[in-house]
């Protein structure tokens, strides 16, 4: 028998144990002081002559000067893409196109750690995620679409698929490399050339990717990377020689792009915001569900368009779920993105932190009950403690609006019908989660939830073979899988 006194002392010591810092080395990747635009296979100074500073959000320290591409720069990039399309890429045998993409996939695998470190430094996401999720998936995406390049006739029988031309692609800051892969891989596999704009706050991995293209000896102009803020994106959207726009980002900007393209005949796919329901039934494996809830909303600081930001718990297990959830939240480690033990990294930008803060305040003001585990945040940088709101009404802003941060709103239901009705009560429809041991209930719920992706007994899982995209105001078009090729092809019918 362990004496009570000793047992108590041991417990006290255990509770003070902390993880030793386990930082990933920064020097694996070299950051230049200043970057130009990647146009026609080389870095060029921006005609705009403008640069801005991109930072490390975990330390609020500048990392590099990055070009702010203007109208003339975008025009130059589109010309390079058009020329590459006309002279090389569309003339190349599809099997050769495939091999370039395989090369890119392999080089990304080889240099994955460099990219992971840079991704975490520039974006604030934990190295554990950039290393184990973002980069492996990005490489897998190129590998998957590489194989499609010379098999398009089998993907679309009787349709004579052909490329569209120049694709303008605008990606967000939450998964910079993964979104780059989602955009570039299918576009190139289908035979198009690309002008891609990374997000304003996270341009560095896209710029490092240019070195992968150099190593792969991709013909110049097939991929052009132009950096800048929303003005640069607007120039891409407005350029008359861009045949297709692919955008991932906010619903507000997506609508503006759709309006801007009205009447132009340009092809468009939109992957926009979400306010996903994560529905937990009383027969769910509770511990597994709690892990899924945590992964659903605190993964990547909640900067995930498909985040499970509305948790619906069946009333009979409400108390058990909430207490388990709070206990689990208290073990989340918030801090240095480069530390291998970190679960929740830095908020991507000051602007995003302000948005999260103001929406959380609205939740408090509207009457929801807030819980945040005790948590020591670093002094510098942008941070937000993982937060859960209970006592939430469907009408509250925190239950309606996309927060895009580590903030969960918990609501309850009694019957499956009520769960479906509440879950679908949103203009969004990107994703949903279902937790139950019953396979038939999984499928019945999946049929009734209006969402493009439904995860059962898991959450935030991605795969290059699995189509991803939204219903309703979460956008249109699919990325991933066979279906992800179609937006980059034209058909003779």
């Amino acid at each position: 028998m362990v004496p009570a006194e000793k047992h108590g002392r041991t417990a006290a010591v255990v509770s003070k144990w902390d993880y030793a810092p386990a930082p990933e080395a920064k020097d694996i990747v070299k950051i230049q002081d200043r970057y130009g635009l990647f146009i026609g296979g080389k870095f060029v100074e921006p005609l705009s002559k403008q640069h801005y500073t991109t930072i490390d959000p975990a330390h609020e320290e500048p990392l590099a000067e990055v070009a702010q591409a203007g109208k003339a720069d975008v025009a130059k990039a589109v010309r390079a893409a058009r020329e590459a399309y006309a002279t090389t890429w569309s003339k190349l045998r599809p099997s050769e196109r495939a091999k370039y993409l395989y090369r890119i996939a392999r080089i990304l695998q080889e240099r994955a750690r460099e990219f992971a470190v840079l991704e975490s430094r520039n974006g604030g996401k934990p190295i554990r995620e950039s290393r184990d999720v973002d980069l492996p998936l990005a490489a897998a995406h190129f590998f998957y679409y590489a194989g499609w390049a010379d098999k398009l006739e089998y993907a679309f029988p009787n349709r004579k698929p052909r490329p569209i031309g120049v694709a303008g692609q605008i990606i967000p800051w939450n998964f910079p490399m993964l979104m780059l892969a989602w955009k570039i891989a299918p576009a190139l596999a289908a035979g198009n050339t690309v002008v891609l704009k990374p997000a304003e706050t996270t341009p560095l991995t896209a710029l490092l990717f240019c070195d992968v293209l150099r190593q792969a000896e991709l013909p110049p102009g097939v991929v052009n990377i132009v950096t800048g803020d929303g003005r640069t994106g607007a120039e891409i959207v407005a350029h008359p020689d861009v045949n297709k726009i692919a955008f991932t980002g906010s619903t507000e900007v997506g609508k503006a792009i759709q309006r801007a393209l009205a009447g132009t005949g340009k092809r468009l796919t939109l992957e926009l915001g979400g306010k996903a329901a994560n529905v937990v039934f009383d027969d769910a494996p509770l511990d597994q569900a709690v892990e899924g809830i945590v992964n659903g909303i605190y993964f990547n600081q909640g900067h995930v368009c498909c985040a499970g930001s509305r948790l619906f718990v069946q009333e009979s297990i409400y108390d058990a779920i909430i207490s388990k959830l709070k206990r689990r939240m208290s073990t989340l480690r918030v801090g240095d993105p480069l530390d291998k033990n970190t679960d929740v990294g830095a908020i991507n930008s000051k602007m995003q932190l302000d948005k999260i803060t103001s929406l959380v305040q609205s939740g408090i003001d509207e009457g929801a009950e807030i819980y945040q585990p005790p948590c020591k945040l670093p002094e510098r940088g942008y941070w937000f403690v993982p937060t859960v709101f209970t006592n939430v009404a469907q009408s509250y802003r925190i239950a309606q609006e996309e927060i895009f941060g580590p903030v969960l709103s918990v609501l309850t239901f009694r019957t499956p019908d009520e769960a479906v009705e509440k879950a679908n009560n949103t203009p969004y429809g990107l994703s949903a989660g279902v937790w139950t041991e019953k396979g038939s209930r999984i499928l019945a719920m999946a049929q009734r939830l209006k969402a493009g992706v439904v995860w059962a007994n898991t959450y935030n899982r991605f795969d290059p073979t699995s189509p991803f995209g939204g219903y309703k105001e979460s956008g249109f078009g699919r990325e991933g899988g066979l279906h992800g090729l179609e937006p980059y092809l034209a058909f003779d019918e």
Binding site: R159, G263, A446, V454, D463, F476
Partner: protein, 264 residues
Amino acid sequence: MTRLAVRKTYKLYIGGAFPRSESGRTLVVEGANIARASRKDLRDAVRIARQAGAGWWGMTAYNRGQVLYRIAEMMEDRHAALSAASSEAEVSRAIDRVVWYAGWADKLAQTVGSSNPVAGPYFNFTVPEPTGVVGIIAPQKPALLGLVSRVLPVIVGGNAVVVIASETHPLAAIELAECLATADVPGGVVNILTGQRAELAPVLASHMDVAALDLAGADGDAAELERLGAENVKRVVHGHPDRQSLYEITPFLELKTVWHPVGM
């Protein structure tokens, strides 16, 4: 004594019934008094279509296929009346087109869906689903074949529709509505409005409960209607007035991907 013929009153087709316009307005087109639908009629039709869509999609694909095939049977039966509003050749082609689309009802999931070999213990599959209420601006001509070519590919996917009929040739639309009403198409799955397109189209394009917009019959105002459609991220489609293809169906389908766990 020659017998005086009993004439038909041409009305709207909303929720499976044939109401006059709530506005009481009519127009003289093709020699008949045609109901001139109001914006209120259109909003009512969208509300009813939204309700009817769930039931239509809830039917089995086999059953939906039979109902659609039944439309062709009813059209064959009313060949003469339909021909009077179009032409015999057009009616024959329209009937054959209905039969062709009816056959797709229970083949879409196999043709458009997929199972996806994800790297993990999940059965991952993608299935097509209806996008919701679809607003259709029908082509002016061919009035019957154009209408059939736009409505059938949309409803075979499980959507409900609100159609603004040809403004210049509305009689064919009403004749077709009578075939739909007798073919066991559930009330509200197809709603047809006659009247002035310029008055109705912007309301349809900007309606927040309309999920997709088919601008087959739009002309000068297409860009403006597209712009209005962006307000709720509508799927905007420029449907072909006379083409028979699986790919006239697919723009009105959503793709849902499900990750189902695999384990003992």
